[in-house]
Symmetry: D2
Subunit: 375 residues, 4 copies
């Protein structure tokens, strides 16, 4: 891609934290021009009105979704940072509005090399949960409503580059993983695939900063409620569970069920998962670690720590990195895998941009090389 | 006990956070007079020099341990809030200095009703780990040095009132449980005793505020390192493990081994444990919960929460309370028990005072009825 | 007052932070029985539903204000922790509903010794701003609406015990000071009264924790917005300004105008004011300090720190204390007075209870002797 | 400058927070190669041992200062992030070790166009206080020791680009301003220069995050001491005072004295100053603001906010930006200027790199365009 012609990018739902972090990273991305920002209640305002840290940045004003002139805006990439359920409708509408061949093809069921036939069609990167679950019945069960775009769902690629890089490269619709699934899957996929840990009895104890709850006005998100405190939530029924299970089941080639318990921690960014697994055939932490080291040897954003160095959220703050290490448990035949990411970056906006780079034929790390910010 | 004559209390190691919280609670205790405060480097200073929030409180200046005139100071109770290893030596010395019959008896191996024979001897409440482990070889293994008071150890009572109330009442030496063991044992002892969960495969994922690390000058304890961050530590080898295992093994009547992983959370006070257990005989969360409800029905400081109410550290901040609830796991045959305490109160100073109340024949809750401080 | 008969207390607006802190302190108050809790949206719920830290405490369920049966509930004291403007209406209604002679007297304009004539009438302690400003035109100007109880206003006593102790003792309606005015006035009243600092050019730079903003659902109160950040607000037009000016003007016997700028700090509790004043007649910090020391020598809740010890919010957390110190400025002829309180205690609920103690003839410090909670 | 040949940079004192933030920014700087990192106690270790967030970054191991082979290492730029007092000695030694003509010239007192004569000599950017004060007697007074490089001092340029851009471009030794002076001077220099505010009675109330205290092991820097608390420090005698006065005096052309009081706030990064000044000739906030707007119209890193938008530290976190606004005070004839920076970036490392860019003939903003990180 020539540097002269920048990729025209739109962000739907720019007034949330995910939208803000997309903008934060994209304003430094050398190949990108932010051409569209939408918001609902804040439509009509400059982004700096809702995120004052963007004062002085040259960005388009936010407009309402209904005011976007879809073909005319000539976007190359749309990031959809909308709430669950909304996303389906909006993406369906967007495909219709742009006369997207992705939609046609679904309807007429004709295969073809999309990439060569319709090179200029918009590519969609959805950050909601709406296209993550392949089985739309599972979606309905966990999200409490029928899926509204069941014909589009099969064309969505699960946007974990370390697992689906090639598929992402040729995709028109990528469903970015949830933050918790990202940290869990990077730690578990290779070891389940290698068959060195049991499919049963996988316990994921997850901890997240408050940005994970979004910018919605709920009492439980107030500073006073979160500061100097911590607690679990959604014990036994968090919506990221089926997503983790779906992907683990693929590599394990069997139905995997997990225990997953998230906790809210008084910090803004960061997500850490402490994963308790049983090993097979007498495998130790060192064996598990070797598998991860080999898998991620050439991955730009995943680091397996040396020795007993401890993954910590401060090691990845603001960056697209994931750090992982493996420890022998005191219980014989068990190991503990610890995985840390920044929930807003590798867990959301950064990974979305990593996907964009792949979909647009750019270097995978372009615009994502910022060092973590500690302190 | 008559209100005219107050209990004369000494706190050895008053300049640490545990010492400070002892003072905080004791200054409002109606039956107590703080008669002695010791410190090492800060000897000679008023307590308000090292803890300015005590300005205006009428407290004795801190003196060096070596300057205490043991019989003359006429203490009824000594709280020993010294570092591990130091405690053994100091308590041994204190027994010698006071000509304590506890020591004599150990040496001459003569049993007898201590409580009636020597009613006025000092009672010792140790907040260190030095007398928690009954097996002094286990102590040596985990603390990296030989136990220096092996003859005193057998006379120490493990100071968890909910488990050893009667023994504590007649004890001269109480070893207060560690903070992590307190939260774990209150949740697990009744269910292991009832035989409704497996002894194998108990996984405790623990989270603690920064006061747990004490006031020592280490880089990892700096505000900048702890704030906006979290991480596990001592994975697979934390010293509270053998203590939890010791007590679980007693009620299970077999050698119990656990998985225990603590995490540091950016808050001052509070400890939360998420405990993953397998149930026996098809027991569900509701069955486990019923056992806990019955066990703790009359306990003043332990509350089993109703419905799906979630234990949170902010519910117990500054109080001697423990809140517990039980949830069905998504994994068949598993439940999740969540237990929260204030690590400095029920996990340390508050429990020590609860023990003092029992040892001195006072009402168990006297001086410990402060409501939790939220926000 | 006999200990047998407890004071029956009602808290109107129990579901806010101020209400919660009233309950926290009152449950340990030996002379009080909490007989009524009201809430609006949360009416019908137990308090522990909105403040889970009260689980296990024996408290009446919250009811709607409109469901209170006023004379029948037989309250001795009502704490009114309602929003500004609402308070006026509610207190006016309450006086009517109880046939309160305070109201009659206002209407018929007959003076009399209320305390002796109607000893059993309810006493009202208002924590809102509604009766703080003596001039109801000033109220209208700063609060943007006409005062709705102009005939009651003259009977309200400004509830700063260190300034109006005797008036409070015989009052039926006390208007508790705002949190910022409390810290400011304790520092400034004695020195303005003594005439040792200039009335001009008083600059108060104030910093407060997030509980000061209450529990209302505003984006700016979310954890993510407040944590790791700070900023001023309401520069030049904060509503606590006229209140501070009113009281300073009384002691200065002239119209005092101040500069007052509050800042939001990422902590829950605590308020600190750095006050810059010009001295008269060459007075130094030591002269100013001497005046404060003399004034507060016998005050139970105000401490003038020794030497250069620095007031810090952690010295008063959770307590009704105020700590103050005075420093020479680098600018000739200027001193800096620093004053710290817990905004929810001495700045609100604690001071309200201090007022209650005075109004009910109890010892002023009863129930308020909890030591500050650090850490 | 050709992009092929990168600038070889050394960081002396890489194990502190300032060093870490230099590395964070420089690893993304397109024209820089980090060729040398030194540390004292941590010499011999990879940087990732002391700052684990740099794991995976290709950086030289830290070596001891005494092991640097000065001419051989062929540095173009040295950042000196050492403690005060140490810096003087080290820079003097470095000049000698490299046979730096800057030193020669000082000794022989011959003027000359350094830039043309010795184009390849190392340029030194000092982040300590050692060369900030032009009067070495003032240095001795405030830092409690004689200046050890009085002959070098006159050649140091005060590294505030917005004030000394041209001097910096041709300097060999730049003394970066302190963090507090940076925020204060950006707000005050233009208005003092314009003569629109009084030189008397300038009051600066400053608030800083905990990184300002560095990584030193002091009790007051522990998480537990800083969290949930705030307090002023160094009232009346902070060492940044003479530095602010020095620069204000230059533009005011008279001896300016200020009142300056810093406060510690429980956050990592960020510095906010609330500055109270008297205006001359009836100038209002709008007049003051206009002067600032004109001055900074083309400055890349300083933004005067529109309307009443409030400077907040979260608007500049992690960026080299400064945001300023001006408000009318309630006191007639007074205005309040609020200025916010990230103390580690514009207040330290970022400004140092801005200086490097100028000294090396690069674009001033290269490597410094990262958007602020909120949340």
């Amino acid at each position: 891609m020539s540097e002269e012609k920048k990729i025209r990018v739109g962000i739907l739902g720019a007034s949330g934290y995910t939208g803000a972090d997309l903008v934060r990273i994209l304003v430094s991305h050398p190949n990108v021009e932010i051409a569209l920002l939408t918001a609902e209640r804040k439509a009509g305002l400059p982004l700096a009105e809702v995120f004052p840290h963007f004062v002085g940045y040259d960005l388009p004003d936010m407009i309402g979704l209904e005011d976007v002139e879809w073909p005319a805006v000539e976007l190359d990439v749309v990031f959809c940072a909308l709430p669950h359920a909304t996303s389906q409708e909006v993406i369906k509408g967007l495909l219709h509005a742009t006369g997207h061949s992705l939609l046609d093809e679904i309807i007429v069921e004709t295969a073809g090399d999309l990439a060569s036939d319709i090179p200029n069609e918009v590519k969609i990167i959805d950050l909601s949960a709406d296209f993550r679950l392949r089985n739309t019945d599972t979606y309905a069960e966990w999200y409490g409503r029928e899926h509204q775009a069941t014909n589009i769902q099969p064309r969505a690629v699960y946007g974990l580059p370390e697992a689906y890089r090639d598929d992402i490269k040729s995709a028109y619709l990528v469903a970015c993983p949830g933050c918790y699934p990202t940290a869990a899957l990077l730690a578990l996929l290779p070891v389940l695939q290698a068959g060195v840990v049991s499919h049963e009895d996988i316990i994921i104890d997850a901890k997240s900063g408050a940005t994970g709850a979004g910018r919605s006005l709920k009492e439980q998100n107030l500073f006073v409620e979160v500061a100097e405190a911590m607690h679990p939530y959604a014990v036994g029924h968090h919506r990221h569970m089926p997503e983790i299970e779906q992907e683990l089941s693929v590599v394990a080639d069997s139905d995997v069920r997990i225990s997953f318990t998230p906790h809210l921690v008084p910090m803004n960014r960061g997500e850490l998962e402490t994963i308790y697994v049983k090993t097979c055939d007498g495998n130790k932490a060192s064996d598990i670690k070797k598998i991860l080291e080999e898998k991620y040897a050439d991955e730009p954003f995943v680091t397996i720590l040396k020795g007993n160095n401890m993954p910590a959220t401060r090691m990845v703050r603001g960056s697209n990195n994931c750090v992982i290490n493996v420890f022998d448990d005191r219980l014989e035949g068990r190991v503990i895998i610890v995985s840390a990411i920044d929930n807003l970056v590798k867990g959301s906006s950064g990974q979305a941009i990593q996907n964009m780079n792949l979909m647009m034929g750019l270097g995978e790390t372009v615009g994502l090389t910022q060092a973590p910010m500690f302190p």
